[in-house]
Symmetry: D2
Subunit: 291 residues, 4 copies
């Protein structure tokens, strides 16, 4: 089928390629004219036959919100917009309502796969009305991995980004799990070859996983991770996951501690630890390190 | 090659089958005469040709220690004992020394695979002298999965159980990661079908893993886990992992919180939470629930 | 000076008494006519001489918001409203703006003290314009404890509730600290008399505090806390504190784990622990407990 | 009464002064001859009249163990040794047994008070036989604070150091509680004057405590803690507390996270966070910071 794709970066560009390889016709728009098929959103809309389907793959937040707002003016009755970015699920109801006023359908799609998606497929978690999802199914089928899994219609509008958010929360804690094991092995005098241990775990163990395969790749490239700083960004889903745990009174200790470890990794010095050092100095005369 | 196997339970019995299927000759001993090939450890030793290799697969702790002590008396120069149980790595140096006095070699083998090992192979992490490990390599090769991974000689005596201990610590936090995600999805009004979401994650996602496949199986059998109580035992490796984190000053928040969640799951009521309730009542007149 | 007090429950009623004891004239309104001096907010406003000061001490959330909205209509230029409830700091800017349209000033006051405040004084953390705070200073001085501490003008509108929120977050973790120590002592075979240990800690130790004094009182009344269930509510400030940690990227492990322990204390069974039990059963054949 | 004091450093020296001020006769020994009354342990023993009481106040671990071993040879039937250092409670049974072979009694005394103990008194938690504790009671009474609290006979040998260990575990989490609150206030745009807020909390609040008084002192000296590095040592009791939580299956999330925060504060870079950064780079092409 025919699809408009807005945003042709690392993710959107590769998704366009995967769709075209599957026989779909994708009209792409990007602020960078070198990669775009058309020069504006208006031209994109003109290039598509009604009822149109447009996939928005731009940064979450303001960029997505303004793109959706512009599409609300350009598209019309019976068209569908898919937000495939890492938007917060709370944005989806707002987007759906704004588009709905013009008779435009809305699907939120959480997309996992990163740089590997082009070849291995993108796992998709989508939310929206059943009829809208069915109309886009050929697109989802082309994007998803070839096996029987990798796609779910998780519920109404917002459910796709919600499921993707939880996916990323789990991801945080899984990465932290491997990372803690790595640090402990590194620190121990009992084992000789930490990369070899991780490599061996790739088959037959309870903890085998795709992330473990990637850990092995990383350790092959740099066995002591000597060239990488222990500084870790977070892109939002982890924070939103914890916020949801708080809202719903669900204890999330492993996910939350994984998020806090990232916060800490980005601090030059810890104000909290300054306070503890100051207190120890006050009551015990314990020496402090000066800045 | 020829091997003695002591302990023919869920693990040892299946390992014997896998070894025999690979053409090895395994003489098995168990306290249960119905599954044993010989009637005593002495008979087991007699039935093997020197230099002998004996694999101990009995419960960690006292059972393993007393078996090793008995073997020290029965075996002789050039024989090798493998402890394949979930022993604490600190036992290994003791065992190795006791056996070494008699010229008997010692290998500690961490074994992962559980009920799936018979068909999929057992991941092995071994510690010991290079020559000893080489002599047992045919046995390791038969037990391990068929691919290129699943075996590591992790270092000297103790390294095998150490690597297995860390493996299990990681496992605790990975399971907790999925479990937290599960609880959050269950609690949320945004998604419709939690088992379908987990199933979809099996391909194309960052969090795909063997444990996730098993989570899908569990949810297929009981979509709301209605027949399972939230009560979780621990077999020791998690506790030892945290003890090692403390000893080596390695922060292990995700693994430790996963262990604490298990402790809490086994409490009828929490003394700590009684204390917090009592304090709130004292300062704020907040109502308490009576036992 | 003269003050209107809205809400004469456990907190508001005692604060009125303390203010009157200090020579202030307090006109009280409550939905319960038996404790009220006047029959409506309108009568309250009439009973006060301009410029008026009205202290709102009703439940946080809808009750406070509707009271403030009503006061915006009844009061006028130069009057001041104080919100002394446990409102979320984000409500304060909204309240201040609504009142400001009518020329009415606004102060948010975090109040600590609970059932002890009448005799020991109420610690006050206030936010608002300097001139407004100065006008209410006689009221603050009467409410606060007699010593040199117990009052702070923490910043502009919202700062008072913000400081109180952080106060409560700290309180959560302090209570958890004592509670964990209590549980460990209870569990240990090394000590004989846990209440006596807590009592001894009241003087000379690093951990002496008012909460410790209360812990001693609680253990005097019920040495094994046998009549109290380990079920702990939370009133919001802990959740808001963690939300702020997430927003500001401040790691708050002790406070957050204290909050999660409360969530867990209120669960009949843990969905997350069901999932872990199910996983262990899948890979290891470990027995599960049935519901 | 008469007492021998071994170790006249920051703690032992001040305790000697406090005891002498109370009218006791203290013979002091230290490796530093400038502060010692006698030149050797043998001379110390000679200078005391039987039945003797000797208080050991030297660093925990090897120094204490060797001092006790030497005293076992020098003292005799009916004498008593008190270990007032920060020894691990597991050392106490060993010491008691070694001394008991010579008919020498043993008391373990956990001592809290730090640099403030000389003037405010030392809180004491002691373990040992009833008769031994009674004989030393005059010494305990002189050391403890003047009020009715600050002393407990917590149980048999080991109970004193055990109670002190838990005291310190609680202390870790209380300090972390204030420290987290401090960092959050520092980070927030809602409050103006963090030191003033802490100062105000000293009276009337739920969280008032001696540690809070010290926090105020620290912030008076350095309002932004600008001269203190966020680097925090730990002296052992926190680690032992967590080890006990693991042994006794008592969840200690707040105490453990406080300990982990100290571990992290001492790392130049975090190997675990290197691993997480490496993984994110592998699956998402996320940029890493180079060392």
């Amino acid at each position: 089928m025919q699809l408009g794709m807005i945003g042709l970066g690392k993710m959107g560009g590769n998704m366009k390629l995967r769709l075209e390889k599957a026989g779909h016709q994708v009209v792409g728009y990007d602020r960078n004219p070198e990669v775009a098929d058309v020069g504006s959103l208006a031209e994109l809309v003109e290039a598509l036959e009604a009822p149109r389907a447009v996939w928005v793959m731009v940064p979450a937040g303001e960029a997505t919100r303004s793109t959706v707002a512009e599409l609300a003016e350009l598209l019309g009755e019976g068209d569908i917009v898919v937000d495939g970015g890492n938007s917060r699920f709370t944005d989806d109801a707002v987007n759906a309502q704004a588009l709905g006023l013009h008779g435009i359908g809305y699907i939120d799609a959480g997309v996992s796969g990163g740089v590997w998606g082009l070849t291995e497929g993108y796992a998709l978690m989508v939310g929206g009305a059943e009829a809208d999802v069915q109309r886009l199914q050929p697109v989802f089928d082309a994007l998803k991995p070839e096996g029987e899994h990798g796609f779910v219609h998780a519920g109404g509008v917002g459910a796709g980004h919600y499921a993707k958010m939880v996916h990323n929360g789990i991801e945080y804690a899984m990465m932290q799990a491997y990372a803690e094991g790595y640090e402990l092995l590194q620190a121990s005098e009992y084992v000789d070859n930490v990369p070899a241990i991780f490599k061996s775990w790739r088959e037959g163990t309870v903890i085998r996983s795709w992330l473990l395969d990637l850990m092995d790749r990383a350790l092959e490239a740099d066995p002591e991770l000597a060239h990488i700083k222990g500084y870790v960004e977070d892109s939002g889903e982890g924070r939103w996951t914890v916020d949801e745990g708080i809202r719903l009174r669900v204890p999330l200790p492993a996910i939350t501690e994984s998020l806090f470890a990232r916060f800490t990794s980005r601090q030059e010095d810890s104000p909290a630890m300054k306070a503890v050092a100051a207190l120890r100095n006050q009551f015990g005369g314990h020496a402090v390190k000066s800045e």
